[in-house]
Amino acid sequence: MSSQDYGPLLDAIRGVRWPARRTVGAALPGAHRSHQRGTSGEFTEYRLYRQGDDPRQLDWRLLARSDRAFVRLTDDRAVLPTWFVVDASASMAFPDTRTPNVVSKWQMACRVAVGLGAVAHASGDPVGLIVNAPNGPLRLGARTRRGTVGEVARMLDLVGIRADGAAAATTTLAPLLNMIPARARVVLLTDLLGDADALVKLAAQRHVAGGLVECVHVVAREELDLPSGAFVARDPDDLVLERKLDRALHASYRTAFDAFRARASQQWRATGAGYTEVCTDAAPARIVRQIVGGRPSERALT
């Protein structure tokens, strides 16, 4: 395992299941309802026997009672490859973790990614990882073998990002989505301060194509509650951008930032994707449960 202790987190989410919000495409047998109807699993309905049906699926008792031949149908289950795309741009390194008891957005994203990955892996879903590391995108193929979650954690731990932009990773995540199969479940863990509009567009396309997208919007508590005093605020993704920060500007900043977050939520949900805003001072286990719980309405069959 990595230097971060994921033990408590994994213990807290043991037994949590993460069903897909809609039926998935036919694939290897797995935990998620599939488009395909099969003969295993839970009974759903009877259908008149047709020429060519497997006689072993006939309900003999019903035949004896009604003198009519019916076949028992059940829902099939399939696996859903789950890919985690974690944003490793300089803005994710905020705030500085050298301060005690401070969790950066990157750290929170890693914890949520490992937690969700463990949940997905426990359901038998292949789990993959893509990170836009400073030296180029890092990709860990989706796999179900034992130890996959550890590999994910170790890969995340290897990525070192610096908030000062010295080892700047690209802020664009949209090209990384093209490395993921269309019908997979994609979990984006990002602060949406890069190419948010392109991501929304791609999410809508993937949703139409049958894929599932979950957006985990990571927000630092220090971005919500600005420090007092006068500073020159610099964007780590764009060090040229400098703005004055003092108490008199807090209100206007908060108004603009809240509007941005509200707009992001509206856009993502409008595409059919899942959207969850995560603050760095929240408990990762609770966040994982919140994400896997989803919205009841989104569990409806397509």
């Binding site: 006068a230 500073f231 605020a233 610099r234 780590p236 993704d237 951008l241 703005r243 003092d246 603009a256």
Partner: protein, 453 residues
């Protein structure tokens, strides 16, 4: 040291206070901090202002204060110390009145009390007109002359010494109103009657060029006529009779005999006195005026009087109708010499008319400062019989205002140039301040700080 515009110093003091307060407010660039959501902050000037207990950039502050003080003092127009303020007492003595200068000074000091007093006398030899009202302009001229050279004078007191028989004429109220302060009227207990004088016209000298002038010259005739008139007007009584010899010289430019007469009349026949300049274009005047009488006629003018300096030894006594000088009086070793630039028509008897009495009275008037051996003590002490006015006249009323309306008391060379020197010093200090400011900015390594200053 005083200042012509002291309110400018107040403005400079306000500027010093303001610049000091600004230096207590440090305008600095706040420390940087990384904030990924900085884009949501509104665009504002990055500089922050904070208060500090001690002024920042003490060297710059001192340079700026020095520049402000230098400019303020320069614009306030510093003036040399005037010393103890003094009152100028002008003692104007009417013609025919005599007063001891020592007695007059005692009278002045007693009247003005504990003030520092400087006394100047205006005696009859400086008075052109022989009436009381003419003392006022003479006193004004004397006061202006003294004040121009004495910056310490701040007020003027006028003492008119008059005889018991003095009567004000129609011009006296107007002249009195022109004096901007109190007037003290001093009467002498007794006024000696002016000495009687008799005029005698000296015969024409054959050695002079007057032989070129016809013997029935109208000017000669006029003088004979008017001398007889003046002599006839003199009251007959016993006592001293002064004899004034009148020598008439009609020769033009060139050598002429030295006159030993009391009154020498230099009246060249060609109308061009030797010491006068020529007119570019000869013209004529319609009248000649003297002693409030005008003699109307056509008087050709061929010469122009070029004053050496009024208020000196020459005084005009006759004028043309347009104000040009027609005759002047100046002292001579034997008395006085009167130069006339009037060209009469030889066939005219205007000079013999009553209208010419004023002109010839002026030409035949007793010479100034003759027959008066200084000012002799009066047998009885003079006294102030009346005071007209509340306050003394301010000295500023006698100083010519400068173009900017500021007191134009004469200053020494250094005091005159001090404002310019101070402005130059201020310029040098500002240049030094600019250099220091640039050096500080370079040391800070922030070019934006130069713009921020």
């Amino acid at each position: 040291m005083s200042f012509a515009l002291p309110w400018v110093l107040a403005l400079a003091a306000i500027g010093v206070v303001a610049i000091t307060v600004l230096h207590l407010l440090s305008v600095h660039r706040p420390p940087p901090m990384l904030l990924p959501t900085a884009r949501f902050l509104p665009e504002r000037d990055i500089r922050a202002v904070s208060r500090s207990a001690t002024p920042n950039d003490v060297l710059l502050l001192l340079l700026r204060i020095a520049a402000i003080v230098a400019v303020g003092v320069a614009l306030a127009r510093p003036r040399a110390p005037r010393g103890a303020l003094t009152t100028l007492a002008v003692v104007a003595v009417e013609p025919g009145v005599r007063i001891d200068t020592l007695v007059a000074r005692q009278l002045v000091v007693a009247e003005l009390g504990a003030r520092r007093v400087q006394t100047t006398f205006v005696v009859r030899d400086q008075v052109v007109r022989s009436d009381p009202a003419s003392l006022f302009p003479a006193a004004t001229r004397a006061a202006a002359r003294v004040i121009a050279n004495t910056p310490a004078v701040d007020s003027v007191a006028l003492f008119l010494v008059q005889g018991t028989s003095t009567r004000a004429d129609s011009l006296t109220p107007a002249w009195r109103a022109a004096w901007p302060g109190r007037v003290a009227y001093v009467r002498t207990a007794d006024t000696l009657a002016p000495p009687r004088r008799r005029l005698m016209l000296a015969p024409r000298s054959s050695d002079s060029d007057d032989s070129a002038v016809p013997r029935d010259d109208v000017v000669y005739a006029a003088f004979r006529w008017h001398i007889a008139r003046v002599n006839g007007a003199m009251p007959s009584s016993s006592g001293e009779v002064l004899m004034d010899t009148v020598q008439l010289m009609r020769a033009g430019r060139g050598a002429r005999a030295t006159s030993t007469a009391t009154i020498t009349i230099d009246w060249p026949a060609d109308g061009r006195p030797m010491t006068w300049g020529s007119r570019a274009a000869p013209d004529s005047a319609r009248a000649i005026v003297a002693r409030e009488a005008a003699l109307i006629g056509t008087w050709p003018r061929l010469a122009r009087y070029e004053a050496v300096g009024f208020g000196g030894t020459e005084y005009p006594i006759v004028w043309f109708g347009d104000g040009d000088v027609a005759a002047v009086d100046r002292p001579s070793p034997s008395g006085c010499e009167r130069t006339v630039a009037v060209v009469p028509n030889q066939g005219s008897d205007l000079l013999l008319s009553a209208s010419a009495n004023g002109v010839f009275d002026a030409l035949l008037a007793p010479c100034p400062a003759t027959r008066t051996a200084g000012l002799r003590a009066e047998p009885a002490a003079p006294r102030i019989v009346a005071r007209d006015g509340e306050t003394l006249a301010p000295a500023t009323a006698f100083r010519a205002p400068s173009d900017d309306g500021v007191d134009s008391t004469p200053q020494s060379f250094w005091w005159r140039w001090m404002p310019s020197l101070l402005l130059g010093v201020a310029l040098l200090v500002l240049m030094l301040e600019w250099r220091v400011r640039e050096r500080h900015a370079l040391r800070a390594g922030a070019p934006a700080a130069v713009a921020a200053r």
